[in-house]
């Protein structure tokens, strides 16, 4: 009955998981409802209709979690070099880095520092997807290690909010080794019996999931986040079939026993504070 099938016309809605909406109104990526942008922003970039959680950048995330004015950033000026001399279609990685730094105002895909969460002093690392897809290279590894060392020095808990596509391939095996480097540093934190909370947000995949992000004392996630080791496309290519709905979502991870609980953005700070309080 093919002649009754309607061809799919129409414009594809922009993917507001990654780009900030412009203008007054936005169509929700998930429920397709039209939302007034201000309402959406006020709702912490969570769709007021369906509850879909959109991505926050590091600045928004810190604003969300840290008591106003209490954040002190560390190691702000660590920035990547191009250890391999990597080039893509004539564009040097080094040039792309500088371009991205200008565009985002960040030096790399993570911001680290200390701040208060409902008055409890905490070491916080927040990854930023807008910088090279949050990918982990030497700088991320080093900043996380320094954050861990600071946690130990000040005896304050550590929270890492992950948001990353995985290792940064432009830094080759250097980036791969950051997986070992961060996990190795975490053993020292464990020796000192200092709390480490890993917060997984959309998306957390590849080398980040397969290292520090998966081994928190407490590991939690925001709703509807994509979290997994291999990317969905890679898996589909390997097994040659379509993946079931909700595969590699936070809910999927909870069901299979890899996270402690899922928490909505509105409740995130309170829940974290409660955990920090309990373990202090």
């Amino acid at each position: 009955m093919a002649w009754f099938n309607k061809p799919k016309y129409g414009l594809k809605a922009p993917d507001h998981r990654t780009e900030k909406p412009k203008g007054l109104w936005t169509r929700c990526f998930n429920c397709k409802e039209i939302i007034y942008n201000r309402e959406w922003e006020e709702n912490l970039r969570v769709c007021p209709r369906c509850g879909y959680h959109y991505r926050l950048n590091s600045k928004e995330r810190i604003q969300l979690l840290i008591d106003q004015g209490s954040f002190q950033e560390h190691d702000k000026n660590l920035s990547s070099v191009d250890p391999l001399g990597f080039e893509n279609l004539g564009q040097k990685y080094q040039d792309k880095l500088i371009q991205t730094q200008k565009k985002t105002g960040l030096k790399d895909a993570i911001v680290t520092g200390t701040g208060l969460i409902h008055g409890i002093k905490t070491e916080l690392c927040v990854m930023d997807f807008s910088f090279f897809g949050g990918s982990m290279g030497s700088v991320i590894g080093e900043k996380i290690v320094r954050a861990i060392q600071n946690s130990i020095k000040q005896r304050i808990p550590l929270i890492i909010v992950s948001c990353s596509g995985g290792a940064r391939m432009q830094e080759g095996v250097y980036s791969l080794m950051q997986m070992a480097k961060t996990c190795s540093a975490l053993t020292k934190l464990a020796d000192e019996k200092i709390l480490y909370i890993s917060v997984l947000t959309d998306p957390t995949t590849g080398g980040v999931t397969a290292s520090f992000a998966s081994i928190g004392d407490i590991t939690i996630a925001e709703p509807n986040a994509l979290i997994g080791f291999a990317g969905p496309r890679v898996i589909e290519q390997t097994i040659k079939q379509k993946l079931p709905n909700g595969f590699q979502s936070s809910e999927f991870l909870l069901e299979h026993g890899f996270i402690d609980f899922i928490v909505g953005r509105k409740e995130l700070k309170n829940q974290l504070a409660q955990l920090l309080h309990f373990f202090s």
Partner: protein, 318 residues
Amino acid sequence: MAVELGFEGSVIEMDNQIKELAALEAEGDVSFQLEIQNLTEKRDNLLKEIYNNLTPWQIVQVARHPKRPLFSDYIDGIFKGFIELHGDRNFGDDQSIIAGICTLEEEKVFIIGHQRGRDMKDNVKRNFGMPKPEGYRKALRVMKLAEKFNKPIITFIDTKGAYPGIEAEQRGQSEAIARNLFEMSKLKVPIICVVIGEGGSGGALALGVGDRLLMLSYSMFSVISPEGCATILWKDAGRAPEAANALRITAQDLLSFGLIDESIEEPLGGAHRNPELMTQTVKEILITQLKGLKRLSIKRLLDKRYEKFMGMGQMFKE
């Protein structure tokens, strides 16, 4: 049947000629000694010339050579009294990782490694050397046993990567790898890791955190396969040779970066041409390395392991 690598030129042809001459000689009473000697010399010179100038992509092909010695060949060639230990005590026994106990000369050691298959049937059993979470958990269980009884660990790395599949995700591939990285960095026994073929990303690193990371000279170690990198950057897996170049995945490059500790020279024309010599070389190096590591106190060993990984990274520090 000989497997021909595109860049080996007339080497295989010469191999066949030498074989034919030897067969003829065995049949009759005419001696071809001189011809065989000449031809062998000529072939070896050619091999030397080719293998001294391999491009990274050619090295990838040698690392994936179907005749390249597998972990099982190293078990047979290096160690004595091997007893395999199966299962992760939780879910199952992943055959893409072999673990067990044996001796290296007089030394009792634990060995663990990725196992690929020789043929299709074997490869299906071994899942093409791509472990699932239970494989990594088996490895960790056995490593903890080594720690408990204070025996050194030697790992052999040879995988395209951890298996990307539905059940692997369901059972926590990420957590299994992360746990190994975490635990291996504080295991209180010497750990030597050798990349014998392909060292594919996190799936390889999950057996690669130790006191020494060694690579065979024509093996590779990479954050992503050259094909995967080419697909992401240029939407064209066919451009893998360029990606192999850009990713700096050879033992020589990684040694110059200080990311590995030693490059182990392979026999003329690659490990597949002389597996006996290859295993013998690896054996000798393992003995030397282990002797060196055993001289260190456990505290010193762990401190050095920690410092080694903390030093990995290149950045501007303003």
